[in-house]
């Protein structure tokens, strides 16, 4: 069935360094959503990308959707300790069901 692969699984960075997580699918994605889950918390919606090649920014976060709609990325510029958590991408088809990637857990050393 449909699978969404996310890499890397873990990333440790020094505060101030950049961070990127990648999401890949073997099939075309309808829409892609990104969520953040803080340690011990629940997923919180960050953004949805719909169009091929779309780029959206939220302060230090930049989200991209590939031209072929088979991959997406989340880039954080100059990480802060508040960025710690697990970032999930999810294939959001029109059925309403989300298929989540495995997540990338970000640790930030102060």
């Amino acid at each position: 069935g449909q699978q969404v692969m996310q890499i890397p699984q873990y990333q440790h960075v020094q505060e101030g360094e950049d961070f990127t997580t990648y999401c890949n699918s073997s099939t075309t994605l309808s829409n892609i959503q990104w969520y953040k889950q803080r340690p011990g918390g629940h997923p919180v919606f960050l953004i949805q990308l719909v169009k091929s090649g779309e780029v959206k920014k939220q302060k230090r976060l930049t989200f991209q959707f590939g031209e072929a709609k088979k991959n997406s990325s989340l880039h954080i510029t100059a990480t802060q300790t508040t960025d710690v958590g697990t970032y999930f991408c999810a294939d959001a088809g029109n059925t309403g069901k989300l298929i989540f990637g495995q997540g990338t857990t970000l640790q930030v050393k102060p």
Binding site: Q33, P43, N94
Partner: protein, 112 residues
């Protein structure tokens, strides 16, 4: 701030017990979902509902059952809990698809 609630937040029970995990939302959303998540792992959809009296099984097979008698309420029941059911259970809702899902705080279940 999303208004979706789950109780209990933590539950430790013995094997063979029947349990019900509660999920309620006050946003009037038609769509509701149950996910299972092991620590540090991805979320797996186990049940979903698109409205009252509508329930479907998700992509991950689960021995649990759900009901949707009222729009705001989507409880999950395990008739006979086993240690393999130990996990975190997250409830979510959305207004329509594809749009963001709002997640509850989760129930951490431990079956001894």
């Amino acid at each position: 701030e999303a208004d979706i609630y789950q109780t209990p937040r933590y539950l430790v029970i013995g094997t063979g017990k029947k349990i019900t995990l509660e999920c309620s939302q006050t946003m009037g959303h038609d769509k509701m979902y149950w996910y299972q998540q092991d620590p540090g792992m991805e979320l797996h959809l186990i049940h979903y509902s698109y409205g009252v009296n509508s329930t479907e099984k998700g992509d991950l097979s689960s021995e649990s059952t759900v009901s949707r008698i009222r729009t705001e309420h989507f409880p999950l029941t395990l008739e006979s809990a086993r240690p393999s059911h130990t996990s975190q259970y997250l409830c979510a809702s959305s207004e329509f698809s594809p749009i963001e899902q709002f997640f509850g705080p989760g129930t951490r279940l431990t079956v001894l």
